[in-house]
């Protein structure tokens, strides 16, 4: 196989510095928002006693889910033995760590008592999936760091495969844990389903790959390095498959709920008359996050266009945020069914759809987490050789065992 030359990016151009400056500003805004929320108390946000997890959690869960998905490209190379993906494995591992750090930063800074992080690290209730997730998240960073070290250090290269296996199984456990945060909640009709574990895994495949594709394209464009169609079109096919798989899980989830009479209320809320949640479901999650990317990725006119592929990846990210908004916030907004068959009213908003409007500090914190993930990635790319000098088709080992359906005409 061809030897892969990795080089750090130069990172001296005005554009690069401007990018870092913009990211730093967004991170500072996020920190200021967290400080403001912590100092004033959460009443300054859109969150309430009915919607206790808001916009920060949408961003945080998105980043955490995307983090495990971003590792897939490396897994395909070392677990499933596809040589073509090997040059991408380092970037894949890097994004897995940086996205997770961005998500965790948001989650921690939104806590009512972020100063008690040490308590969360020293007191565990092992029946809580949240406590397990603390181990899964920190362990994931350790496992992927070790995995990256095996890739970087030539004398450790022999251990890439076992490290890749461990990282792959760890990431499956991690997303199972993230999905189960909601799946294990017996109190609410939108949750309480084992389906969320595999659904979140597929969501992570899709969101993570979308982020990976955009990061790859942006990095190669920014660094002025060649990026051939062979890789881009292969990733594109994979993204299409994952987007379709997420739609499948969403359809199964809603069909199951529609079959249970007791869950018709929540289905009616999400699918028909839930206002913003219905709009986000159909327009955001299904159209922008599902059917539009599929059309862009597979339509004969657009399927080879870089711009269309990047657009599809961006759509998947927007749709993913919409999907998590519907799951996390919509799931809480729909009232608890404490008294079936009764109309319920109280001063605590029983029986009513809870009101929620995202506030500026929440959005700033969430966006700050995203900026942190991007900034850490960009800095790492400058410091260490994560990216191959060239990903031109001539420098890529296409797998003969897996001929791409979308091979460029010249190849």
């Amino acid at each position: 196989m061809a030897y892969i030359h990795y080089r750090p990016i130069q990172g001296r151009s005005p554009g690069f510095l401007a990018l870092l400056g913009a990211l730093a500003a967004l991170i500072m805004a996020g920190l200021a928002a967290a400080r403001y929320m912590e100092h004033q108390g959460h009443y300054v946000t859109g969150m309430s006693n009915q919607i206790v997890w808001g916009t920060p959690h949408v961003f945080a869960v998105f980043l955490i889910v995307a983090a495990s998905g971003a590792l897939n490209v490396a897994s395909i190379a070392s677990v499933f033995g596809r040589d073509m993906y090997k040059p991408l494995a380092r970037l894949s591992g890097l994004l897995a760590i940086t996205l997770l750090l961005g998500g965790l930063a948001v989650l921690v800074l939104d806590l009512g008592r972020p100063d008690r992080l040490i308590v969360a690290m020293t007191h565990y209730n092992f029946k809580s999936i949240f406590a397990w997730n603390i181990f899964l998240y920190t362990g994931f960073i350790a496992v992927v760091t070790a995995y990256l070290w095996m890739m970087f250090e030539r004398r450790m290269n022999d251990y890439i495969e076992p490290a890749g296996f461990i990282a792959f199984f760890w990431r499956l456990a991690l997303t199972t844990g993230t999905g189960s945060i909601f799946g294990f909640v017996v109190a609410r009709e939108a949750y309480d389903t084992a389906l969320y574990a595999p659904m979140f895994i597929l969501m992570s495949f899709s969101f993570g790959l979308a982020v990976f594709i955009l990061a790859l394209m942006a990095a190669y464009r920014g660094a002025g390095r060649p990026l051939g169609d062979l890789i881009v079109l292969r990733l594109k096919n994979l993204l299409g498959l994952f987007v379709a798989a997420v739609i499948y899980f969403v359809v199964v989830y809603h069909l199951t709920n529609l079959y249970f009479t007791g869950r018709h209320g929540i289905e009616r809320f999400v699918l028909l008359d839930g206002g913003i949640y219905t709009l986000l479901f159909w327009l955001g999650q299904m159209l922008i996050g599902g059917f539009l990317p599929l059309a862009l990725l597979y339509h004969p006119v657009s399927r080879r266009s870089r711009r269309a592929i990047a657009g599809a990846a961006a759509c998947v990210i927007v749709g993913g945020l919409a999907q998590l908004y519907v799951i996390i916030i919509g799931g809480q907004a729909y009232p608890l069914d404490i008294f079936p068959g009764k109309d319920v009213t109280s001063s605590f908003f029983d029986g009513q759809v809870a009101a929620y409007v995202p506030s500026l500090p929440e959005v700033a914190l969430g966006v700050g987490g995203m900026a942190l993930a991007i900034a850490l990635t960009v800095i790492a790319l400058k410091v260490l050789p994560f990216l191959p000098r060239s990903l031109a088709d001539s420098d890529i080992d296409a797998d003969p065992a897996e001929p791409g359906k979308e091979r460029p005409a010249a190849a």
Binding site: L111, V119, S346
Partner: protein
């Protein structure tokens, strides 16, 4: 009268024995009452019976609870804490109207305790579900997991706290069944107020005490937990619902 050496020694030994044993004898007396140092015991399971037929439109239970526990609002209903609330029900088919107080149901298998990452949400041996204010990190997972919407997150600074009821911004809280009163052998503030000024709809007691009023009433009269399908075996049971 002179005291012989033998008598003196005998008296001395008796006095010493008396001094040594007295605290022990006193301890036996103290065992009858629960001292503040004594741990809650699983021999008890504190609970409530609420008769919705007797519950009237009044809010004395709510007022008494919030006064007792220093729960004050900031005029922001969406974020102000509520430990107990009055809920009005109307049957969708028949239009039959009812009202009842709703608070932490003190489940035997509390979902809030299951999901709490740090173990700050916990259940005492005697069934009272509480939040340890020192280890709550304010993640609010318990608020999401509670099937009764019984928990509140403290959205802003609290002032004028009661010495018995520590509270703090950024943590979660809910009805403690007035644990500080129960530990003194008293009844929760809501029950006391309801029986004094309200419809006398609430009975507090030990579910395990076969001779107690609560046990006797529940044995004779039909009652049910809220959301029985969740099988949480709540400490609060409702009648005529």
């Amino acid at each position: 009268m002179s005291l012989g050496r033998r008598d003196f020694l005998g008296l001395g030994v008796a006095a010493a024995a008396g001094v040594a044993m007295a605290p022990g004898v006193r301890l036996i007396e103290l065992v009858q009452a629960r001292s503040p140092e004594e741990a809650a015991s699983a021999l008890q399971r504190w609970g409530l019976r609420i008769d919705t037929a007797k519950c009237t439109d009044c809010e004395v239970c709510v007022t008494a609870c919030h006064e007792e526990n220093g729960v004050t609002g900031h005029g922001r209903p969406a974020t102000d804490a509520q430990w107990i609330r009055k809920v009005d029900l109307r049957d969708k088919r028949t239009g039959h109207a009812q009202t009842l107080p709703l608070m932490c149901q003190h489940c035997e298998h509390p979902p809030c305790v299951d999901v709490c990452p740090t173990g700050a949400s916990f259940k005492r041996a005697d069934g009272i579900v509480l939040v340890d204010k020192h280890t709550c990190i304010g993640c609010r997972y318990c608020v999401i997991a509670c099937p009764y919407g019984a928990r509140s997150f403290i959205h802003e600074s609290v002032t004028d706290q009661k010495p018995d009821v520590p509270r703090g911004k950024g943590t979660v809280e809910s009805c403690t069944l007035c644990v500080h009163r129960v530990d003194r052998g008293e009844t929760p503030a809501c029950v006391e107020a309801c029986n004094r000024d309200g419809g006398k709809a609430m009975v507090f007691g030990d579910l395990n005490d076969a001779a107690g009023e609560l046990h006797q009433r529940l044995r004779k009269e039909q009652s049910s937990p809220l959301r029985p399908e969740l099988a949480l075996n709540t400490g609060v049971r409702y009648q005529h619902l």
